[in-house]
């Protein structure tokens, strides 16, 4: 399967491990990722906060390049990038005024063809959980995790049309296919505070703190995420939140890689702030 890949800015710096593990897992599953050539930032969350046309335009340029590359599918792994690309695609397809504005900005026809999907959706709906389960050589037995979706992978439903907006199950099912156990908890689709990490940190400490406490209370050993913003907010700020959990916040692609038999170093496990190594070791999932 050929897929246009939009890594986004975070995957090139703060969240390299998400990029590393995404590429490895996709390659393993015969998903051929072709990075969108000369892509630009999706603008999240600044652009849509202050200039709607700019927000749509930035993503439209990326979709347009993917269309030029003859790709039917655009895949993002950052929930913020995914949401911006998906929203732009929805606007172009459903709002004739916006479509005209985009064509003026791009000075080319608006990209209507490429379908935008988050990697989670692609894996669950196209690769399929059975095919994924077949690749598992090291089942994540004994690992008790909280599957965290955050806001934008499943919302707004009208635009995203994937899973349930508030009670999603796709990531839980994927993790179960890898052999892990997922906890029942109340914050799987609540907000971590998102883009306020720098500009109004108290919001992140408040909302992210609630997510962490909820996962802990549900008995999770770690939280599994599918967004670099969620990962950063939950992983790097536990101390500032006044929590001494040291709870690992792991990308789902990293756990897939481990279950497929890759080494922690190949998956950037060492780049996480709260190291999951002791936890993984206690379950016999890593050696040293």
């Amino acid at each position: 399967m050929n897929v246009a890949y939009f890594p986004g800015c975070s995957l090139h710096s703060m969240s390299k491990e998400y990029d590393m593990s995404t590429r490895l897992v996709c390659k393993h599953l015969n998903i051929n990722l072709q990075e969108i050539e000369d892509w630009n930032c999706c603008g999240a969350t600044a652009a849509h906060s202050v200039d709607h046309s700019l927000a749509v335009g930035l993503s439209a340029r990326n979709l347009s390049i993917a269309e030029d590359m003859k790709m039917d599918k655009v895949m993002a792994v950052c929930a913020g990038c995914f949401s911006r690309l998906k929203t732009a695609s929805h606007e172009i397809r459903n709002n004739p005024h916006m479509k005209a504005e985009v064509e003026q900005m791009l000075q080319s026809p608006a990209p209507v063809k490429p379908e935008v999907e988050h990697l989670l959706q692609l894996l669950v709906e196209e690769t399929g959980l059975e095919a994924i389960a077949q690749q598992v050589v090291k089942p994540l037995r004994g690992l008790r995790v909280a599957a965290y979706y955050g806001c934008l992978i499943t919302r707004p439903q009208k635009v995203v049309q994937f899973d349930d907006p508030e009670q999603p199950v796709s990531l839980d099912n994927l993790l179960k296919a890898l052999g892990a156990e997922t906890v029942t908890w109340g914050h799987k689709a609540e907000c971590c505070g998102g883009g306020y990490a720098a500009s109004d940190t108290d919001i992140v400490l408040d909302l992210g703190g609630q997510v962490l406490k909820s996962a802990k209370k549900a008995g999770a050993d770690a939280i599994v995420v599918a967004c670099p913003m969620c990962q950063g907010n939950l992983d790097m700020r536990q101390k500032a939140m006044g929590l001494d959990f040291r709870m690992p916040i792991i990308y789902f692609t990293q756990l897939m890689g481990l279950a497929f038999g890759y080494k922690p170093g190949q998956l950037g496990i060492n780049k996480l702030f709260n190291s999951p190594t002791a936890l993984l070791k206690s379950k016999g999932l890593v050696k040293e």
Binding site: C9, W39, C41, H48, L207
Partner: protein, 199 residues
């Protein structure tokens, strides 16, 4: 508004059209494609809202203020600057009212009018991020944070995270640039007083 109304009741009961009311709901229909009049006043939006505990006006009240056309209050409210755009309200609304889109629209309008935001740093961060996108087409987290700390005079903001991020290879000192910057610059509106966008 009636001067004798108690503070608790004023938002819920005394909202009514007055001489300052305008056609805001019509404008929102045109610009955001959202039909405010379909609001059932059920309050599910506020029940779902992630940040309602710090909002000065809950989503339900925001819709009410639009209905009565109280633009002044809407453009000055703190909710514009602390909504996390988590999309819970829109998915809970039985009438499909897209409140995050409305909040974006109102924020854009407040900026156009030059209204001072209740949280200036939030606006500053947006501006600095977009400046970077306009210059190099991408965001360098390292330089964005450094620039933001400098401009907001919070020199040690997040500094405690710096060393660990550096040693884990999470900070990229050489930011990547988009090659076809002419195509990115074309997406930006000229700022007031600024000449046309470079070709």
């Amino acid at each position: 508004m009636n001067a004798t109304t108690s503070p608790v009741n004023q938002y819920f009961k005394a909202l009514q059209l007055d001489e300052q009311s305008n056609s805001l709901s019509q404008e929102i229909l045109q610009n955001c494609g959202v039909e405010i009049e379909r609001c059932l006043e059920c309050g599910k939006c506020s029940g779902g809202c992630s940040n309602t505990h710090i909002f000065d006006y809950t989503p339900r009240k925001i819709v009410q203020l639009i209905k009565v056309g109280n633009e002044d209050r809407l453009l000055q409210m703190d909710a514009l600057w602390c909504c996390v755009a988590c999309q819970l309200c829109v998915d809970r609304c039985p009438s499909g009212i897209d409140i995050p889109r409305i909040i974006d629209y109102l924020r854009e309008r407040a900026i156009d009018r030059g209204i001072v935001p209740t949280r200036p740093n939030v606006k500053l961060f947006h501006e600095l991020m977009l400046d970077q996108v306009q210059k190099i087409g991408r965001v360098s987290e390292l330089y964005l944070i450094l620039n933001y700390n400098l401009k907001s005079k919070q020199y040690l903001n997040n500094a405690e995270l710096g060393p660990q991020m550096f040693f884990k290879g999470k900070l990229n000192p050489i930011p990547a640039r988009v090659k076809r910057m002419d195509k990115v610059k074309r997406l930006f509106r000229p700022k007031p007083g600024q000449k046309g966008v470079a070709e």
